[in-house]
Amino acid sequence: MTEPMAAQPGKAIIVLGCPEVPVQQALALYVASGLSDRGAEVLVTGNPSVLGLLKVSDPKGAYIQKTLVLEKCVEEVVEKKRDCRLCIVFAHNDAAIAYAATLRHLLPGSRFVVVVFGKDPEPLAAEINFPCETITEKAVHNPAQLKAKINKVLGWAASRT
């Protein structure tokens, strides 16, 4: 059985895909905030566009502690300069699944969660052939159901908001 995150402080990496699906932005801030509140040291990685959006949304760094461009993050993980206890990948396209597979391979000791979302997440989720926890939900603009599933998987109490 997986430990609830409350019992898992340590390093966490949140991997974001292309920012074209709105729920990702909201959930990235939500998950980063939740992990930070529980004592995790959180790194958010993604392409420059998605990181730029987050920085605009969080100008004082209240939710996002550290960011790193995805290619650089992969490089550091390959070179064993970076690891984590928990890795959460947001995926709504084939490229994100490829990045998830790569990081899963490179981080064999980490708890690994892939959040599959977008207009048609089921075929994408079916591509996952590596060991991980998967959260799948059709979600584009409304993050409520996905947030509830994330809360459940991470062992977080339901938020009132």
Binding site: E75, D94, A95, A101, L106, F130
Partner: protein, 101 residues
């Protein structure tokens, strides 16, 4: 880490090809096939993808491989590089050795 855009490459399959399509194309069309794990370094780039990642070698001088950009997706590239071909032959796995399929 370099940038693939700085290298002279040919697109064999366009952006938007799935990883599976890239693998099947190489396995069907190349006589010399090698497999690597995600994170394998090729032309100064760490290769991203679902394992096993397939490489096709042509004429002993050109390598065809899938390349994934986080926002754009995957495409299949061919790049000339005799030294990289030799390195792949020394460090990658054959299908049989890797135990794939």
């Amino acid at each position: 880490m370099g940038c693939i855009e700085n290298l002279k490459y040919e697109k064999i399959l366009p952006l938007g090809a799935s990883f599976k399509e890239c693998r099947e194309y190489v396995e069907k069309n190349y006589a010399e096939i090698w497999y690597v794990e995600p994170g394998y370094k090729l032309f100064d780039e760490y290769i991203i993808g679902l394992p096993p990642i397939v490489l096709g070698i042509e004429g002993g001088t050109k390598i065809t491989f899938p390349y994934t950009k986080p926002c754009h997706g995957t495409y299949l590239l061919r790049i000339e590089g005799k030294e990289e071909v030799e390195r792949v032959r020394k460090t990658a796995k054959t299908k049989k050795q890797a135990g794939y399929r």
